[in-house]
Amino acid sequence: MSSVADGNTMMNEERREFIKKTAIGVLVGLGAASGLVPAFSLEKTVLPVWDEKPVPGKIRWGMLIDTRKCREGCQQCAAACHHVHNVPDFRNKKDEVKWMWKNPYQNVFPTASQQFVSKEIQDRSYLALCNHCADSPCTKACPTEATFKRWDGIVAMDYHRCIGCRFCMAACPYGSRSFNWQDPRTAIHDPVTTYPTREQGVVEKCNFCSDRLVKGQQPACTEACPEQALTFGDLNDPRSDIRQLLEANETMQRKPELGTKPSVFYII
């Protein structure tokens, strides 16, 4: 009698163990199947849109900002830009790093030749970013060629080469460059895995979304704008949207008298 009872408890114990293990196995299996355990979280590499070495000077990327459409107080373009590029936010003016921002009229166009412009125009704020000048003063100031004029007109930064001397910041007449006084990784609140960060001691700025252009996408700000106020395109192509708009509208550039030939245009 007792031996039978012993056998029963043993069986029950084995049974209990079996059920437990099965349950755990099922849960883990389902977890893996539903992707709780990701195989690889980095962006899948794809071949660029262009296959061979690009021809220098064939393309000149540019942007047209229709400030009449730009909503007052809307920051969606800058937010999208800063998000996809892991731009740090130190919540502190002194350490501020920015690729795209809004400023009042007198700060964006301090040398505009028009006198007595309307109060409505003066009261609006205007989008500012790197102008990707055709004759860029920053690339001439850089002692290590860390910032350079790309084959497609983009003023690019090679962060690998930047020594943090900030000559480019002094040379840029538009204040488009920011210095990483601190480790930026501590101030990225919602990091993305698709773009690297920068490190302490390098200068950073807008890259005209060269990371997205290579995949055949539009810049993040252009896509994010709810009013389609930003037009991005090839300034060397007379049939491009941006060239059509430039021909049809009166536009202006920032500080044109300096001869930097900015690639960012404004409709006021």
Binding site: S34, L47, P54, H160, T193, Q217
Partner: protein
């Protein structure tokens, strides 16, 4: 008998929880995938199951390869690497890590043994940091 009833009950509870969990998680994941992955146009996925060069060559020369990739892709815009067997790869650290980050210690084991401190991970996401 009572114990058997209990365990059968337990099995039922576990099964139902698992199915509900599976369904809920999948619904959430679908939403996430739609919002977080922008559509990629005109590009072709790379078959990174093949290696870009034999392991013995890479062991000795990966730094030269990375240096060449970095300069030619960033500075001249030549982003396509044609391997010895003719297959094409994007010149990107993510091409390497697409396979090699399966081993989280892939870079670190040798570098710590050789006491080499490359600065890649100051900016780029290392295999250790990929979730």
């Amino acid at each position: 008998m009572e114990v058997m009833m209990m365990s059968r009950k337990l099995l039922w509870i576990v099964a139902v929880t698992a199915i509900v969990l599976f369904a809920v998680l999948n619904v959430f994941r679908k939403g996430e995938a739609e919002t977080s992955q922008p559509p990629v146009h005109k590009s072709v996925a790379v078959d990174s199951t093949k290696c870009i060069a034999p392991a013995s060559f890479m062991r000795a020369n990966h730094m030269q390869v990375l240096y060449e990739w970095r300069n030619s892709s960033v500075r001249t815009g030549n982003r396509v690497y044609i391997a010895h067997n003719g297959s094409k790869f994007e010149k990107s650290l993510n091409t390497c890590l697409g396979c090699h980050s399966n081993n989280r210690m892939f870079c670190f084991n040798c570098h710590s043994y050789a006491n080499v401190k490359p600065k890649c991970w100051n900016c780029h996401l290392s295999p250790m940091e990929t979730p």
